[in-house]
Symmetry: C4
Subunit: 257 residues, 4 copies
């Protein structure tokens, strides 16, 4: 495999599809949100993306089979609304600079083939989040950005870098006939942050006038809260201990000198 | 040399050949096992694989000659059974991400040319092994996996990553008409682990109904055990020493403060 | 995006244009100088350079839009003098070895298209600078170098390496019909050094017989001086503190032993 | 510049030329030896090799001009003997794995164009050398190796890796109609080791029946000896100091506990 390739599983007719992308990244916000959508909408597998820029290992599944790391495209037929959806998630981001640009370009090539005019990318935004994490929005198109603000997203500080596929898709979309929006859920960046994913999905729903029940994320949020709580406790104990050691050292120095 | 190339030495007719791959990796399990098979079966050199993704040095041999790092394909005519064998071992794995994918693809191209329908890759599995190391099996084909379990291999935990050529060959085999099995011998990962290699070979023999005398590995196992024993002793002494120093430090702090 | 590309915004007729390049580097000297020139001359956007060798993130602007990292070409019509100008600045340098050579080659391809015969690159030269930083000059052409010396630039020590685009453009210009000059402002290398940029611009003006008011840089220089002063203070305090700790430690050792 | 290129300066007719390569490496042995030969033989510039795999900086020369890093081919017309010489030295080795293979291939392409049938590469061999450093020889051709042994070179231990262009040229020569010999001068690996270079040249002379006065290297050897002596002194003093500190620490611990 010398190049990034996309293996198509089906060739459905799609109605003005919107691309939604959520690959692994900060707090896994994009991946959690997109996977949840795929599950709730019962979206069907559309294609798989393989790349020599992904890490060179395979994953074992429950049945003892293995597969390459990959991206997965799903599609969802929107019976009541205007836009069908193409949803992209996956195992990993590309590992090299040139690979990141290559994979993002391949994704847009594929989206264009299905006539995608709008793309939404999802990621995390590092910030000690409040009870309900805010959602930061940026876009290549002012109208799309306005829609996001109406759906209660907030503006990004200027100069903020958006790293990886979620950012590059917006940057490269400019060279194509695609408007792109990026939604970033505030997250302290712990391994998994379903709360930030929920915030993003509630904004995304309003923008796309979807109706997805988000209560299924509550269980994951509770679990993740417990883990964060436990990590904080450990951190505090460690801090207290370090403090004490330092104090002892200082007393000793004072004593001696 | 801009691309990975395969130099063929002979062009034998092979009967439904099975590819067996064992390149250097964890505990050198794959390489030790495959080289032992080649030696015992008196397999003949079939081809050599050279790649600009291998490290950029050459090796000096006993006669003062040198050669590039390479992979080596051997073949064995199976007089009594159904499948001839193609065996692949070598000096090194590819050094870059893209190189790993490239080399694995070239190996499969070559295997397809000889009509290979089944491939077995061999590697190590990091685990404090018991007296007789277990062999972990995964496969792209449930029947092949069942055969491995019947030969006393055990299942892999889900999510386990298989790194390098042994893994990628399975991942990429899916895109070809090749079923692939990976056998990983449990190893603590020390430099050389012939015991794990022996475990893998005893499973492999049952699967392929080969008859290879494995007692020739006993000498190597004994030697390797002695080395491991010595390394443990050193480790223990180092640990005891560190312990003592720490204790002295603590006593001093207590004394002073 | 597999290759470095240049998107042209306009196709003006340019009169024997001189290329001036200042990308981010030591003390940001090149970028500050070139951006200041662009602003003062009210130069117009000519083209944008995008490359898969730039870092893989996008930047958010004030309006909540985003864009890829890029280089920007501007042009200025010189009503009174002989040479129009093409000015190049940007967000970043290429991140890989091969990318550096590729981007520099693309810049020269573009310059040749407009008939550029002379190029000036701008950067920083690491040296504790005096009140007015000197400007070090090197060139592929002795006449151009002489002009720089007449404009009060000084010679570079032999063997000095010039890293990145500012250097490679000179190296690669030799293979084309382009004479190139590099002007390096002495800088201690702090984040931003507008004083070094001012020195470079005052030399550049004389060489190109431009008339640009440089007093607009004074505000930036004052700000940057304050930052440097503050950093020195912090450094001194830190040093004094470290000194004291060491002294206490030594006294303790002497006391104990 | 996307590829390694060779710019030819002259197109002389050469009589069964032998290629001699000495790029920077361990102790700079290859480069010192080859440059000395070029100077003594008054060899003429034949061609220059440029590559996007070299580091991305340019070097300033004495006249304030700059140039890309490069390899330099020289040629020498052997009036009395059978073989003319092509000599290759340069500023740097390629910086990436794939670049190393690419540059070595380009060198051999160029050598083949001139009908080179024999190549000699020169490098350093890390070993605390005796008064007169030995020269280790390996070759792709037993006859050539025997010639080297007759010229007082010694055999290499098996398994010894030869890193970089000096090694790859031998490895890749096998695929061409070129016999190659590698001569490695024993060196402790300090920055510059003209003594090792002298040893190599005295072996090389016998093999090629050249007559080059090597006394010109004596000055450089003396200078380098002085530097090595000074570095050893510094090292010893540092060692003594570290020893003393450690002793004091131990006494203190003993005292306290």
């Amino acid at each position: 495999m010398e190049k990034t390739i996309i293996k198509e599983k089906m060739k459905p007719e799609l109605k003005e599809p919107v691309l939604i992308e959520g690959l692994p990244g900060l707090g896994m916000v994009g991946r959690i949100a997109t996977r949840y959508l795929i599950k709730q909408l019962k979206a069907k597998k559309l294609a798989e993306l393989y790349s020599p820029h992904f890490p060179y290992y395979v994953l074992v599944n429950k049945k003892g089979s293995v597969r390459l790391l990959r991206g997965e495209f799903y599609f969802w037929k929107n019976e009541t609304g205007e836009n069908d959806l193409i949803l992209l998630t996956g195992d990993h981001q590309a590992q090299t600079i040139e690979g990141q640009y290559d994979v993002a370009s391949c994704i847009l090539d594929f989206a264009e083939k299905y006539g995608v005019k709008t793309a939404v990318t999802i990621g995390g935004y590092r910030k000690e989040a409040e009870e309900t994490p805010k959602v930061v929005a940026v876009s290549t198109n002012p109208k799309l950005l306005k829609k996001a603000f109406q759906a209660e997203a907030v503006a990004s500080p200027a100069g903020n870098p958006i790293v990886g596929t979620a950012g590059l898709l917006l940057g490269l979309a400019r060279f194509r006939n695609i408007d792109a929006l990026c939604l970033l859920g505030e997250t302290c960046g712990y391994l998994l942050d379903p709360k930030a994913a929920k915030s993003v999905l509630s904004v995304l729903q309003k923008i796309l006038t979807l109706k997805v029940n988000l209560s299924g994320l509550e269980g994951e949020i509770k679990k993740s809260n417990e883990i964060v709580e436990k990590m904080r406790e450990i951190e505090e104990r460690r801090e207290a201990y370090t403090q004490k050691i330092r104090q002892m050292e200082e007393e000793r120095i004072t004593y001696i000198s």
